[in-house]
């Protein structure tokens, strides 16, 4: 059988099996709170008709765009500088390594204190969650770059900013993009958590609100499904960056 077909048929078969198993399990348990797949679909339809689905998706994406965008703008240059200048690395790396393992969830009270219950609070949390993976991967990218590129560049008389622009940055780029991809996944994870507390729109808010306002578990699961699907789409979009000729060399044989 040809491989393309295999790559469509197998995941579809898994999905069908999963949905059938889910449906059967709900029916057999006799639960009237946990929804069947069909009820979730109906819930999604209801949200779409009310215009809430699109509104919440846009709200969540808006927060991620800001928080993640700021993290890229801050994290990439910061990581490259830390990777290149040893004193900067010595001064800041311990600090970064202490901040990094603190879950963004732990920052929620602080975010509310500093920014109140406004959009700024979740944007700040998303920024915090994604800036560290981006910084650390950009830093490692420079530190691990093949020395032969650096030496070849120095041999041609490059130093300072031209060396950075023509060699260090392009040499680091594949790993920087990998860091960006990981960070986007984290950012999307965190938007949901952030919206559960601080705001009144978005997919995270939908989940908590549906639970609190009348145990609408069909809408809870509908929110979860949308989060999963959008996360998948975001990842596929960033993966496209890895296909450019300027960086493809950095990902081995794929």
């Amino acid at each position: 059988m040809n491989r393309r077909l295999l790559h469509i048929i197998l995941p579809l078969a898994t999905a069908v099996l999963f949905l059938v198993g889910w449906h059967t399990a709900v029916k057999m348990s006799g639960s009237d709170i946990f929804p069947t797949p069909y009820e979730v679909l109906r819930g999604l339809g209801e949200l779409a008709r009310q215009g809430l689905l699109l509104k919440y998706i846009v709200a969540s994406l808006f927060r991620v765009s800001w928080g993640f965008g700021l993290a890229v703008i801050v994290g990439v240059p910061l990581g490259l500088v830390l990777g290149w200048f040893r004193p900067a690395y010595a001064a800041l790396n311990p600090f970064i390594q202490i901040l990094r393992p603190i879950s963004p969830i732990a920052w929620i009270p602080v975010a509310i204190l500093w920014f109140g219950v406004k959009d700024t609070a979740p944007v700040f949390l998303i920024f915090l969650a994604s800036v560290f993976p981006i910084t650390v991967s950009a830093m490692a990218a420079v530190q691990n770059m093949q020395q032969v590129y650096l030496r070849a560049a120095q041999n041609f008389g490059l130093s300072g900013f031209p060396l950075f622009r023509r060699v260090i940055f392009p040499a680091a780029l594949p790993q920087v993009i990998t860091g960006i991809r990981i960070a986007l996944g984290v950012a999307w994870l965190v938007v949901v958590a952030a919206e559960m507390i601080a705001v009144n729109s978005g997919l995270g808010y939908l989940i908590i609100d549906a639970r609190n306002a009348g145990k609408r578990y069909d809408l809870v699961v509908a929110g979860m499904v949308m989060i999963g699907l959008i996360g998948l789409v975001l990842d596929l979009l960033v993966r496209r960056l890895e296909k450019f000729d300027e960086v493809r060399w950095g990902y081995g044989q794929r």
Binding site: V148, A152, N155, F156, P170, A171, L173, W249
Partner: protein
């Protein structure tokens, strides 16, 4: 023709090199009392056992390492870092994978007018036999082709001296033979000074005007063998075989049976 009469491009006088060892305070002596000369336009090979320090020596001459003591003069001045007029060709291939073949070859020419740059890139792409691959990326090329790109990049930048550190070491046997023949053709056309490090005795005898044989670590130059076989070299000629066997003997090997003589 005596070496002393010719203009010297590279002069190494009583060069020593040691690195700090694993235990604090200990030192690993890599080079001891190394002296050599390379005349302008000369092709000199350095051979020696693996790990003897011949790459270290080339890195010192190339300006990437600083000798512990001694004197290293290139083109009349003490070496103080790498220089665009003297390009290093790396064994592990220093071609930039994010640039196309023509962008790589034009890498050292960015300060020149566009027309001149394009002219030179085109010329050297043809010289190393890569016409038709201008827009290819290194990952799409074979190992031999990537090494050609690196050589063309050095030539296009108008390097007067090439330092080559086992540049064909990772290539298969036939590609290696072809690369040697092409390197000699290019060297004869371009009149560059070449200092070439290899552990392959046959390679050294096929390429060089002179072969410098290094000892085990701490390394020094044991002997110099002048190769007088006319080019293109007949690899079955008595002169070729004699030169090869002589170097084998200096390195304590027997070309026919291996092991100690």
């Amino acid at each position: 023709m005596d070496n002393a009469d010719m203009e010297k491009t590279i002069t190494v006088r009583d060069c020593w090199m040691s690195f700090p060892g694993k235990q604090s305070g200990s030192e690993i002596h890599v080079l001891e009392r190394v002296s050599l000369d390379v005349a302008k336009g000369e092709f000199v090979c350095i051979v020696g056992p693996s790990g003897c320090g011949k790459s270290t020596l080339l890195n010192i001459v190339g300006g990437f390492l600083k000798e512990t003591r001694g004197e290293v003069l290139v083109e009349g001045a003490p070496v103080d870092g790498p220089d665009p007029g003297r390009i290093f060709v790396f064994q592990e291939n220093g071609v930039f994978p994010w640039l196309t073949v023509e962008q790589n070859i034009g890498f050292g020419l960015l300060s020149r007018p566009v027309a001149e740059r394009e002219e030179r890139v085109k010329h050297y792409i043809a010289m190393v036999g890569l016409a038709g691959f201008e827009k290819s990326y290194p990952r799409e090329l074979s190992g031999g082709m990537r090494q050609r790109v690196e050589i063309a990049r050095a030539l296009a930048a108008d390097a007067r001296v090439l330092y080559m550190d086992e540049p064909f070491g990772a290539l298969d046997f036939l590609t290696r033979l072809k690369m040697r023949a092409d390197l000699i053709r290019i060297w004869q056309a371009e009149k560059k000074t070449i200092l070439f490090v290899t552990h392959d005795i046959e390679e050294a005898v096929q390429l060089a005007d002179r072969v410098l044989v290094m000892t085990k670590r701490p390394a020094t130059i044991a002997e110099e063998v002048r190769i007088t076989v006319p080019r293109p070299r007949d690899l079955d000629s008595p002169d070729y075989l004699a030169a090869r066997d002589r170097i084998f003997a200096i390195m304590g090997m027997d070309a026919h049976g291996g092991g100690a003589v």
